[in-house]
């Protein structure tokens, strides 16, 4: 089922959490709402769920206006950051809850509920823990139970609020791959909130980058990463070096002070040379070298005194043979310029 928000605005006192947000999510897609804390992403998710109501604007499911409908009537599956499992119920009872509270004429029989719950336990690979209480489970297990509980009612959309936010790094990685797989199997329209760009880029079909209550850009992970629409997106989706300079007909020149345009360059788009090779370059002195990991990260200080971050492969690093305090020449390869239209 498709989801559409149009001109949704929400204020908490003086604070504008959402400022005329319009977003369309086609049926069956897995979309990430990505942004720093306070960007409004969780508020938008809760408004889609019906746990919060917009001051103005509309929410549509499958073209139908459901703005005024309560969470109860929206048939959404919601997964909370801190799981929100019912602590006095077992895993089995937690998953069965949504089916048991249905009005009598819609409620499946006891056997049907049991069969459904067992299917879901199979899906989350926790069959042997059906009689445990939430307090007896690990964080990753709790989150899977929360997911199974949300799926039990066969929701039309699945909404996840920082689903992996409170898990440790390893479990997090495992669980997000699992979520991706699950989505490929179940094909339910899903929206998840995250502040982790890597998570968003890896899991989602499309990413909506949010900042200060507005959506900066919506696109595939590839699009938002390689073709960021705004400086904020560029900044948020990876490390960045900022220079002043100008780009004329493909020719980049970088100069010192606060003159010219702002140039954005990713650390891996800077090339280090030991000799000037004719291309437009600037001088820098190497300060630190971090060579643990797949990439070598070099910190240098430019001739104008700015910090510069460069990333290169281990091979490149070895063939260059750089050392600390060495004077090098840096050539920007891929420079991004944003027209100063905002702020």
């Amino acid at each position: 089922m498709s989801i559409e928000t149009r001109d949704v605005t929400k204020k908490f006192g003086q604070f504008v959490a959402l400022d005329h947000v319009s977003l369309e999510i086609p049926s069956g897609e897995l979309v990430a709402l990505l942004g720093p804390s306070g960007s409004g992403k969780t508020t938008l998710l809760r408004i889609i769920a019906g746990l919060e109501f917009a001051d103005s604007g509309t929410v549509r499911f499958h073209g139908e206006d459901i703005t005024g409908r309560s969470a109860r009537d929206r048939r959404v599956g919601f997964v909370f950051q801190h799981y929100a499992l019912f602590r006095h119920m077992t895993v089995f009872e937690n998953i069965a809850f949504g089916l048991k509270v249905r009005p009598r004429h819609l409620r499946p029989s006891k056997e049907q509920i049991r069969a459904k719950v067992e299917d879901l336990l199979e899906l989350i690979q926790l069959k042997n823990l059906a009689n445990r209480y939430p307090s007896q489970l690990s964080g990753g297990q709790r989150q899977r139970v929360a997911l199974a509980r949300a799926l039990a009612v066969e929701p039309s959309v699945l909404l996840l609020d920082e689903p992996f936010g409170s898990l440790d790094a390893k479990v997090r990685l495992e669980l997000r791959r699992w979520l991706r797989q699950l989505h490929d199997e179940v094909q339910i329209t899903s929206v998840f909130v995250t502040h982790d760009q890597e998570e968003a880029l890896e899991v989602a079909d499309r990413v909506a980058v949010m900042n200060e209550g507005r959506i900066e850009q919506v696109g595939s992970p590839d699009e938002v990463y390689h073709h960021p629409a705004t400086p904020f997106v560029y900044n948020f989706l990876g490390n960045v070096n900022l220079f002043h300079g100008r780009v004329d007909e493909g020719q980049t020149s970088i100069h010192d002070a606060a003159t010219g345009q702002l140039l954005y360059v990713r650390p891996h788009s800077l090339e280090i040379h030991r000799q000037p090779n004719g291309a437009s370059h600037f001088r820098a002195t190497i300060k630190h070298i971090h060579s643990a990991g797949p990439l070598v990260k070099v910190e240098a200080v430019s001739e104008w005194g700015n910090a510069v971050y460069v990333e290169m492969s281990q091979e490149q690093f070895r063939s260059l043979g750089l050392s600390k305090e060495e004077l090098v020449f840096i050539v920007p390869k891929d420079v991004r310029v944003f027209q100063e239209t905002r702020k």
């Binding site: 019906g50 746990l51 109860r72 959404v76 019912f86 006095h88 509270v101 307090s135």
Partner: protein, 304 residues
């Protein structure tokens, strides 16, 4: 005093006990504190309790039994049960509603409401009783109107019930407010998103989560309702067989030098206190077993 003496032993034990934690005190201080606590417990609790029972049974079981079967004594027990029987359920409903309002919602006057709930704790019970006399007494604010309609509140059963409700109304609410606040609303939101109605959410999710705190609050509330003296004394008028609760009856008997009878009735209240303690411990034990570490309600109120 203890600090000066313990200086050297503490230094020695610090080098000897490797496994000691940073906050643990030396053995001397520990035993001094435990000793002091036990001493106070014996002198102010066990000893008086023993006296109550030994005085009550001083002239044999038959006399004890007889004094409990006096019509006035039976009437006092009945009135006490009635007052508690009305006050406790009412305060249960009020306590749940108030803790809900305070724990889950933001509204104007919230801190005022929290303060007002504590009022019966901070005001002397005698003053609480006087408030009702000033309101409902013959010379009181509503007195003439009540008299004209032949409604008696002061020096009658309704007054006693009212005073009991007033004095005991913080117990359940105070017990639940921190509990409800700590739990937040995520579980309720989850239940709602899963399609549960308001009542289903309350009975299947909210209530089970506060169940043990609620039972604990009710136990304390009941103990206080049955044992209340000051406020009830002011509004009762001490009419034998009619407006005397157990504590009031005990006082009258005692003042008339009927020590055995006085202590016999007192022993009933003491038994109630003991039973309350047993139930309370059982509830705490169960709650701790069920919720692991989450049974963290405050222990500040002592059984009245």
């Amino acid at each position: 005093m203890a600090g000066a003496i313990s200086l050297t032993p503490r230094d020695i034990s610090a080098t000897r006990q490797v496994a000691r934690t940073a906050t643990a005190e030396s053995a001397l201080i520990r035993w001094t504190l435990i000793g002091a606590a036990v001493f106070f417990l014996v002198v102010f609790l066990f000893f008086p309790l023993a006296v109550v029972f030994s005085e009550a049974l001083a002239k044999g079981v038959a006399t004890y039994w007889n004094s409990l079967r006096q019509p006035d004594a039976v009437a006092a027990v009945r009135l006490t049960l009635l007052a508690a029987g009305i006050a406790v359920p009412l305060n249960l409903v009020f306590g749940v509603a108030a803790s809900w309002a305070i724990g889950k919602f933001e509204f104007v006057g919230k801190s005022l409401l929290t303060t007002l709930i504590d009022l019966p704790f901070s005001v002397s019970p005698v003053v609480s009783g006087l408030i009702f006399v000033l309101l409902f007494g013959l010379q009181g604010l509503l007195g003439p109107w009540l008299a004209a309609h032949d409604i008696r509140i002061i020096f009658a059963v309704p007054g006693i019930v009212l005073a009991t409700i007033f004095v005991t109304f913080p117990f359940v609410a105070r017990e639940l407010i921190p509990l409800v606040q700590a739990q937040g609303q995520e579980e309720e939101e989850a239940a709602m998103a899963l399609g549960a109605s308001g009542w289903q959410t309350f009975f299947r999710v909210s209530l089970p989560n506060i169940k043990w705190g609620l039972i604990y609050g009710v136990i304390l509330c009941n103990a206080r309702a049955m044992g209340e003296f000051g406020a009830v004394s002011v509004v009762s008028g001490h009419i034998r067989g009619l407006t005397n609760t157990m504590p009031l009856h005990i006082e009258i008997l005692y003042n008339e030098y009927q020590f055995v009878a006085a202590f016999a009735v007192a022993s009933l209240l003491a038994l109630l206190a003991l039973a309350t303690l047993v139930v309370k411990s059982a509830v705490e034990w169960r709650a701790r077993r069920r919720n692991g570490h989450s049974a963290n309600w405050n222990e500040e109120e002592v059984v009245a």
